[in-house]
C-alpha cells in the first residue's frame, strides 16, 4: 500500500472505531448517527485537487458554531450534557475530516477520536465497547506510527536555500507514493505491537488498585432497566405476555445443580403477604428486626442477610451455611433493588456497606440498592424438608404470621360450610360468593394435614387448569375467581395467586413469591443464564417448625431443566455471545477490589500449586531416591556435570570457529584486503616494510609521520582494512568499501611513483 493511502486508511479506521464505540450504545440520536456515517463516508473523497479546503473553512466554522449553540440550548432544555457533548464532538470530528490539510489537522482528529472514545466509557458499557476499543488500539498504533513518519518526513526532507528563502520539500511526494515503507511486514509488525499494547493495557487494568474516592461522582455509569420482573403482582390485565430473551442474571452454581440436565431452580426474589382486589402487596405491619450480619476482616466486609433467623454468631452462621448450595450471582440492572437467590435462601453475602445502601429490611425479601448491576453470593437450601416432617408440623403460628392468612372481602367466608357438593362435579357447578373457598375445601377433601392440602391444591391446579400467556380482562369479577371458574387458563401469577388464596382459605399461611424460574445452561462458561422471559410467580407455604416451603402450581412447560436451548449453530452462537457479555461484565465492568483480591489469591495459589507440582514434589522424590541409592546418585551427578562441561566446551569452540570463519573467508577473497596487501608490497619495494611487531594502524601513522607521499591515503586504506577484517557486518558495506579501497590504493601508488621517494632518500624533517 502506498504510504499516503495507508495513512488515510488507518486514520479512518481510528475515527470509525471511536465513533462506533459511542454510536452502538443506542443513546445518540439515530438521525445524528446516520448523518455522521454518511458524512464520514463523503469526507473520504473530499480532498485536493478535487476540493480547495480554504473555500470551505468558513462554512465548517459557521456550522460548528451553530451546532454548539444548539447543543447548549438543548442542555439548558434538559438534555443529557454528556450526550450533547458527544454529539458536538462528532460535529468537530466531521469538521476536521472535511478540513484535513496539514499534519496538525490529523493530530486534532486523533485527539477528537480519543475524546469520543472516552465519552464512550460512560455511554456504552456493553461488550461492543470492548470490541471497538480493540479496533481503536490496533488502528491507532498504525495511524500514529505512519503519522509520525509522515511528519518527520515532511520536516526533515526540506531543502533550505537560505535564511530568507522558503524551504522546499524534496522527495516527499516520492516517498508518499512509495510502497516500500509501509508494507505487509510493517502492518504485521505494528499489529503485533498494538496487540502487545492491548495485552499490556489489560494487565495494567487488572493490576490498578481499585480505590474509588468518588469525590464528585458515584459510579460513572447509568443503569439500564430491563423488563420481565416487577415488585408487585396485579392480576386482571389483558394482552399477550412476550418472552423477553434479555439476560437479567447469570448464576454460577455448585456442580450438582450445573449442566444441561440440571433441574430448574426457583430464583426467589420478592414475596407478598397481602392480597386485595387482584393485587399482591406488602402488609403495613413489617417485622422491624434487622436480620443481617457483618463479618469484617475474615471475609472482606461481607454482609450476611438472613431469612427468618435472628442474629447468629459467626460460628453458628458458618454451621448453618455448611453443605448449602452456593451461588455467585451477577445481576443486571433490572430497575429493582431486590436480590434473587435459589429457594430457599439461607443467607445473602454482599460486598457493599449495608448500612449505606440497603433499604429497610423485610424478612421476606432482600433489597440491595444498585444501579449498574451487582455481584453477590447466596447460600440456599434447595431441598425441602422431608414430607413426614412437613406432615407432622404443628399448626400454631408464630407471632405476626397471622397476616399470611389474610384474605380480602372479595373472597368472603361461606355462611354455610355444608354446601359442599358430593360426588363428581365441575367447577362451573359451584356457585355462590364463596365458591373459591368451596373449591379449596373440595380439592382438599381427602387431605388430613396442611402439607397434603397444599400438595392437593398444587396438583389440582397443575392438572386441571391450562396455561396461556394471553391475558383476558376479568372485568368486575374477582381475578382469582375469574381464573378458576370462568377462564380456567392463565399465566403463572394466576396460578400462584389461586393457590395462595385457596390455601389461606383453608388456614394455611402462604405468600406469593415473584422471581425467576430455571434459565439456560451456558456450557462455554459454566453458568446459568436467566432471562427476563423466565420471570415467574409461585407460592411459599409456612409449616411451623419447618419454615417456608416452595410450591409451584403452574403447569410445567416444554422443559424444566437447564438444557432447554438447542445445540444448533444459532443457539450456540447466542450462548457464545452471552458468554462474552458475561465475561465482559464480570471482568471489566464489575471488576472491583474484591475481584482483584480474589484474582491475586487464585493466581498466587495456582503458582504455589504449580510450583509444588513441578518442583517441590519431584525434588522431594529425587532426594529420597538419592538417599536410598547413594552410589548411583553420585555417578549420575558426575555424568551430568561432565555432560554440561562437554556441551559448554563444544559451544565455546563453535563460537570461536564462527567468529573466525568469516574473517578467513574475507582474507581469501576480500577486495580491500587485496588492495591493502598490494599497497604494502609497493611500499616495501620503496623500503617501507612493516615488521611483525607493528600494527597496520601504527605502520600507517609512521608513514604519515615520515611524510611519505600518499601516507594520508594509507591511513584511510588501513582503516578500511580494519573495518573489512574485523567488522561484524563487513559484507553489507563491501561494495562501497571495495571501490574506495581500490581508489585509495591507486592514489598511494601513483603518489609514490610521482615522488619517487624511498626510505633511504627521504629527507629528515
Amino acid at each position: 500500500m502506498r504510504f499516503a493511502q495507508a495513512h488515510k486508511v488507518t486514520t479512518y479506521a481510528v475515527i470509525m472505531s471511536a465513533f462506533l464505540a459511542v454510536a452502538v450504545s443506542g443513546l445518540l440520536n439515530p438521525l445524528v448517527v446516520i448523518l455522521a456515517l454518511a458524512s464520514i463516508a463523503g469526507s473520504w473523497f473530499w480532498e485536493p485537487p478535487r476540493i480547495r479546503f480554504e473555500t470551505w473553512s468558513l462554512v465548517w466554522t459557521t456550522l460548528a458554531s451553530l451546532i454548539f449553540v444548539y447543543e447548549v440550548i438543548s442542555v439548558l432544555a434538559g438534555s443529557e450534557i454528556l450526550l450533547a457533548g458527544a454529539e458536538f464532538l462528532v460535529t468537530l470530528l466531521l469538521a476536521k475530516l472535511y478540513h484535513r490539510r496539514e499534519s496538525k489537522d490529523y493530530l486534532h482528529l486523533y485527539l477528537l477520536s480519543f475524546l469520543l472514545l472516552t465519552a464512550g466509557t460512560v455511554l456504552n458499557a456493553e461488550v461492543t465497547y470492548g470490541f471497538f476499543f480493540l479496533c481503536y488500539v490496533v488502528s491507532f498504533t498504525w495511524a500514529m506510527t505512519i503519522f509520525h513518519l509522515r511528519r518527520e518526513l515532511e520536516n526533515n526532507f526540506l531543502l533550505r536555500h537560505g535564511k530568507e528563502d522558503a524551504a522546499e520539500q524534496v522527495q516527499v511526494q516520492r516517498v508518499m507514493n512509495s510502497k516500500r515503507i509501509v508494507g505487509r511486514k510493517f502492518f504485521i509488525g505494528t499489529s503485533i505491537v498494538s496487540l502487545t499494547i492491548f495485552a499490556s493495557a489489560l494487565s495494567l487494568f487488572l493490576l490498578f488498585p481499585r480505590i474509588g474516592f468518588g469525590f464528585f461522582f458515584d459510579k460513572g455509569r447509568g443503569g439500564i432497566t430491563m423488563a420481565g420482573f416487577s415488585e408487585g403482582v396485579e392480576l386482571g390485565g389483558h394482552g399477550v405476555i412476550k418472552k423477553d430473551t434479555t439476560v437479567v442474571m447469570r448464576v454460577e452454581v455448585d456442580s450438582q445443580y450445573a449442566g444441561r440436565q440440571a433441574p430448574y431452580i426457583h430464583w426467589r426474589g420478592v414475596a407478598f403477604d397481602k392480597y386485595s382486589k387482584g393485587k399482591w402487596g406488602y402488609s403495613s405491619r413489617q417485622e422491624p428486626k434487622t436480620e443481617r450480619k457483618e463479618l469484617s476482616g475474615k471475609r472482606w466486609t461481607t454482609n450476611h442477610l438472613l431469612y427468618d433467623k435472628p442474629w447468629l454468631k459467626e460460628a453458628a452462621l458458618d454451621k448453618r451455611l455448611e453443605g448449602s448450595l452456593k451461588q455467585n450471582i451477577y445481576l443486571e440492572p433490572i430497575g429493582s433493588s431486590v436480590l434473587f437467590g435459589a429457594s430457599m435462601p439461607l443467607a445473602f453475602e454482599t460486598e457493599i456497606k449495608i448500612n449505606k445502601t440497603t433499604e429497610p429490611g423485610r424478612h421476606d425479601a432482600i433489597h440491595q440498592h444498585h444501579n449498574a448491576g451487582i455481584k453477590y453470593t447466596v447460600y440456599s437450601d434447595p431441598r425441602p424438608p422431608r414430607a413426614e416432617l412437613l406432615r407432622g408440623a404443628g399448626t400454631k403460628l408464630p407471632k405476626g404470621f397471622q397476616r399470611y392468612l389474610q384474605l380480602p372481602e372479595e373472597i368472603p367466608v361461606c355462611a354455610n360450610t355444608a354446601t359442599l357438593p358430593l360426588g363428581e362435579w365441575q367447577t362451573s357447578d359451584i356457585s355462590g360468593e364463596c365458591r373459591v373457598r368451596e373449591l379449596a375445601r373440595w380439592i382438599t377433601r381427602d387431605a388430613t394435614t396442611q402439607y397434603d392440602k397444599a400438595l392437593a391444591l398444587e396438583t389440582w391446579l397443575r392438572n386441571e387448569i391450562g396455561y396461556t400467556l394471553e391475558m383476558e380482562s376479568p372485568g368486575a369479577m374477582e381475578p382469582v375467581e375469574f381464573f378458576l371458574f370462568e377462564r380456567q387458563v392463565g399465566h403463572c401469577e394466576y396460578f400462584s395467586s389461586a393457590m395462595a388464596v385457596m390455601a389461606r382459605s383453608l388456614g394455611i399461611p402462604t405468600r406469593n413469591v415473584n422471581g425467576f424460574l430455571g434459565g439456560e445452561w451456558n456450557e462455554y462458561d459454566s453458568f446459568i443464564a436467566v432471562r427476563a422471559g423466565d420471570a415467574h410467580s409461585w407460592v411459599e407455604v409456612y409449616f411451623p417448625g419447618q419454615g417456608w416451603v416452595t410450591f409451584d402450581p403452574t403447569p410445567a412447560g416444554e422443559a424444566d431443566f437447564l438444557g432447554r436451548g438447542s445445540l444448533g449453530f444459532l443457539d450456540k452462537m447466542r450462548r457464545i455471545a452471552d458468554t462474552l457479555r458475561f465475561k465482559w461484565s464480570r471482568w471489566v465492568i464489575e471488576y472491583d477490589l474484591y475481584s482483584q483480591l480474589e484474582l491475586f489469591k487464585n493466581f498466587g495459589s495456582s503458582v504455589k500449586k504449580g510450583a509444588n507440582q513441578y518442583f517441590r514434589d519431584p525434588l522431594r522424590r529425587a532426594s529420597a531416591w538419592a538417599r536410598r541409592h547413594k552410589s548411583e546418585a553420585a555417578a549420575l551427578v558426575i555424568f551430568v556435570g561432565l555432560l554440561i562441561g562437554m556441551i559448554s566446551y563444544w559451544r565455546s569452540r563453535k563460537r570461536v570457529e564462527e567468529t573466525l570463519a568469516p574473517r578467513r573467508a574475507n582474507r581469501k577473497r576480500g577486495v580491500v584486503m587485496r588492495n591493502y596487501l598490494a599497497t604494502l608490497r609497493v611500499l616495501a619495494r620503496r623500503g617501507f616494510r612493516r615488521d611483525d611487531a607493528t600494527t597496520p594502524r601504527e605502520f600507517a601513522r609512521g608513514l604519515e609521520a615520515l611524510r611519505v607521499p600518499g601516507a594520508e591515503d594509507m591511513v584511510l586504506l588501513t582503516e578500511l582494512y580494519y573495518e573489512d577484517e574485523y567488522s561484524e557486518k563487513a559484507a553489507s558495506v563491501a561494495d562501497s568499501s571495495n571501490a574506495r579501497a581500490e581508489a585509495l590504493a591507486r592514489s598511494i601508488q601513483s603518489a609514490l611513483k610521482e615522488s619517487k621517494t624511498n626510505r633511504r632518500g627521504l629527507a629528515p624533517i
Partner: protein, 366 residues
C-alpha cells in the same frame, strides 16, 4: 534451543546490563506533554469515578508510553554510525560530510533516526535523517557544513535520537566515534607575482628536455636511471650517488610566511595573519598548479621542496596547523640560491629577522 532456555536465567542479568549500556536521554515532545497530561487526567477520573472503562483507557495510555520507550530503544540499539570526510576541507568553504548508518540488528528495522555529528563537544547545526534502515542494511547520507577557521577539529561522536513510534518522546543516545578533521586555510584565485630578472634561467624552459641544469648529487633510489649514477663520487663515498638535474618542468619556488605576531597583538593582527596564511595557501596552490617545486618556510616551519598534489596536501596541512610565533623565533631555512621566493607578511606587522633576499615581499591583505 533447550540449552538457551535452561541457561536463560543466568544470561538475563548480563542482558539487562547490556541493555543499559549507552545512556539514554528522554525528552518529552509537545505532543508527549499533552499525552502525559491526558493520561494523568484519565487516571484521576478513573480513581474518582471507579469507572472501569476509564481504568481500561488508563491502562492503554500507559501501555502506549511503555511501548513507545521500548520501541524507540530498539530503534537506537545496534546502529553503527560512521563519517567520511572529504579529502580536503577548506575554511569558509562548504563541504559535504558523508554519514553512513548501519543497522546491525538481525531482524528489526530502525525507523526515523536523527543523527547529529558532535564537533568539539557541541552538535553541529545540521541533522541527518534516516527514515528507515532495514535490518542488516546500511544507508548513506551527507550533510553540508562550513567551518570558518583553519585548524584541527575533533569530532567526538554522534548523537542519535528518535521520536519513533508515536512522536511522544525524543530518546537520544551518544555513540563515540572520535576522529580529527584538518581544515585547510581558505584559498582563492591569486595572480602570481611577476618574475624579477632572468637570473634564475627561466628562459631555459623553452626547450623541453629530460635533463636540465646539474643541481647536485643524491643517494640512489629504486627506479632511478642508472645512467645518472655519478660513478666517481660513488667510488669516493662508497654508496651509490646519482646526479640530480633541475627539471625544467619543475621550477623551484620558496614560499615564506611570517607567522610572528608581537606580544601585544590585537584581533586585527590575528586576522591579518589569518589572511596572510590564506593568501600563502592560495599562492602555494597556484604555484603547484603551474608545476613548480615548492618549499614552504616559516618560523619553526619547513616543508621541503616537492611538487604535485601531495606537496599541496603537505603545504596546506602545515599552514592549517601553523601556530603564531614570537618574532625572536627564526625562519627554519634560508632562501635557497637560484630559487625564486615570495615572502608573505601580515599587513601592519613589523617583525625582526625576516629574510631580506626574497624575490617578492607581499603584505596581506593587500
Amino acid at each position: 534451543m533447550l540449552w538457551r532456555l535452561l541457561t536463560w536465567p543466568f544470561r538475563l542479568p548480563g542482558r539487562i546490563l547490556k541493555s543499559f549500556h549507552g545512556a539514554r536521554t528522554l525528552k518529552l515532545t509537545r505532543e508527549g506533554k499533552y499525552f502525559v497530561g491526558i493520561t494523568i487526567g484519565i487516571g484521576l477520573a478513573a480513581i474518582n469515578t471507579g469507572n472501569n472503562l476509564l481504568y481500561l483507557l488508563l491502562g492503554w495510555l500507559l501501555s502506549v508510553i511503555i511501548a513507545s520507550g521500548i520501541l524507540s530503544d530498539i530503534c537506537l540499539r545496534a546502529v553503527r554510525i560512521t563519517r567520511q570526510a572529504p579529502r580536503r576541507i577548506y575554511a569558509s568553504r562548504p563541504f559535504l560530510m558523508e554519514l553512513q548508518a548501519q543497522n546491525c540488528k538481525k531482524r528489526l528495522a530502525s525507523y526515523s533516526l536523527e543523527v547529529e555529528d558532535i564537533c568539539e563537544g557541541h552538535p553541529i547545526d545540521k541533522r541527518c535523517y534516516f527514515l528507515k534502515i532495514p535490518e542488516g542494511k546500511t544507508q548513506h547520507t551527507a550533510y553540508r557544513h562550513t567551518i570558518s577557521r583553519r585548524g584541527l577539529y575533533r569530532f567526538q561522536g554522534f548523537r542519535v535520537s528518535t521520536k519513533f513510534p508515536f512522536g511522544l518522546f525524543r530518546k537520544s543516545t551518544s555513540y563515540n566515534n572520535p576522529s580529527e578533521i584538518l581544515v585547510f586555510p581558505s584559498t582563492h584565485p591569486v595572480s602570481l607575482p611577476p618574475p624579477r630578472g632572468q637570473l634564475l634561467g627561466d628562459q631555459q624552459s623553452n626547450v623541453v628536455g629530460r635533463r636540465g641544469e646539474f643541481f647536485g648529487l643524491r643517494e640512489y633510489r629504486d627506479g632511478d636511471d642508472r645512467r645518472s649514477i655519478h660513478w666517481r663520487s660513488t667510488a669516493r663515498e662508497g654508496k651509490l650517488l646519482v646526479r640530480e638535474y633541475e627539471d625544467e618542468s619543475q621550477r623551484r619556488m620558496t614560499l615564506l610566511i611570517d607567522n610572528a605576531l608581537p606580544e601585544t597583538r590585537g584581533e586585527k593582527d590575528e586576522q591579518a595573519l589569518e589572511d596572510a596564511i590564506s593568501f600563502c595557501a592560495s599562492l602555494a596552490s597556484a604555484y603547484l598548479d603551474k608545476g613548480y617545486a615548492l618549499r614552504l618556510v616559516g618560523r619553526d616551519l619547513l616543508v621541503p621542496f616537492a611538487s604535485g598534489d601531495t606537496q599541496l596536501q603537505r603545504v596546506l596541512k602545515a599552514l592549517a596547523l601553523l601556530e603564531t610565533k614570537n618574532e625572536n623565533d627564526a625562519f627554519s631555512a634560508d632562501i635557497a640560491p637560484r630559487t625564486k621566493s615570495v615572502l608573505v607578511v601580515p599587513k601592519g606587522i613589523s617583525a625582526r629577522s625576516r629574510p631580506a633576499q626574497a624575490s617578492h615581499v607581499l603584505e596581506v591583505p593587500r
